[in-house]
Symmetry: C2
Subunit: 190 residues, 2 copies
């Protein structure tokens, strides 16, 4: 059965990036050095290898529009898998004409996730972008959250999630302890 | 050597309590059920027993004024150990006359921590209160942070730390994985 999952690196004080650019910037970069450091050796460390395998195992990607456009739709496909972008505005030209694997969905997050899961078959749907992840979470269509908790206090920046309409309980599925980060996988309780 | 440590339960989205009361309230209570649940059996689970032992091993407490007053100075001592409260205002009457183990320090957080460590001897100094913990952190006198990461998204509330003046690197010292929480102990890098 396909599982929708958000994979996110978070600072101990709950930030996913700096104020200006939730995909990068200096603070954003700090949150992603764990994969570089752990993967620096010719043979990446076990956990990083496992996470790379999980990322590559996705059968579809659900991406927020801002993320998709900032990443230029990953060149038209996300490692060969289709990309679904929920948006009420018309898709940009590149997505309309140049990217057959990119589908803009204008009837909401639930429909977009349903289409992504149908395309993914038995494989996972990777959710890309904090805002769309929150929409999926609050719409009840986000199944799991893989957090890489980074041992740093950024002190400022963009939150993992903005204010939520209600408290959401999680279940700890797996904890992997490395020097670079504490990797915790959660299942969203419904 | 005495170590100053902040012990805090935090939601996955970085909150330590609800907006109204950073010592409790509904959200705050949710963040502390892990000890109750894990300790509900006649024999508390190993981790909770260990944490209780660490809490009781403190040789002194450094408490924020708001926390100390809200808790009525824990009745005059924190499990028998002295309490130090950094504050530029005069101490309240109870602390002046009724609580010989409570010391108000009016010349800053660094002096208050020095006095607390002197009183603690070889034992730890437990830091109580998010605001004083941040002052200690930014003044360079907070040594370790014990986080109990709770599998819940509160969606709103008080942050672990308010905006910090600079990024602060941590070192992961210990990870304890339980169903109720992921317990991570950090050393503050200097």
């Amino acid at each position: 059965m396909s599982v929708s999952i958000l994979d996110m690196s978070v600072s101990l004080d709950g930030y996913i990036a700096d104020d200006d650019d939730y995909l990068g910037g200096d603070d954003g970069e700090r949150l992603h050095t764990w994969a570089d450091e752990a993967g620096a050796s010719v043979q990446p460390s076990g956990p990083v290898r496992d996470f790379e395998a999980e990322w590559k195992a996705a059968g579809a990607v659900l991406a927020g529009r801002r993320t998709a456009e900032l990443m230029d739709h990953w060149g038209g496909s996300h490692g060969g898998v289709p990309i679904f972008v929920p948006s009420h505005r018309p898709p940009p030209p590149a997505a309309r004409w140049g990217y057959p694997l990119v589908t803009y969905v204008n009837d909401g997050i639930v429909s977009a996730m349903a289409q992504a899961k149908a395309a993914a078959g038995d494989r996972d749907v990777q959710v890309r972008g904090g805002l769309v992840a929150q929409q999926a979470l609050e719409a009840g269509v986000l199944d799991e959250i893989q957090i890489h908790l980074i041992p740093v206090l950024l002190g400022r920046g963009r939150r993992l999630f903005d204010v939520l309409s209600s408290e959401i309980e999680l279940e700890i599925v797996r904890v992997i302890d490395t020097p670079e980060a504490t990797h915790v996988r959660y299942r969203v309780r419904r």
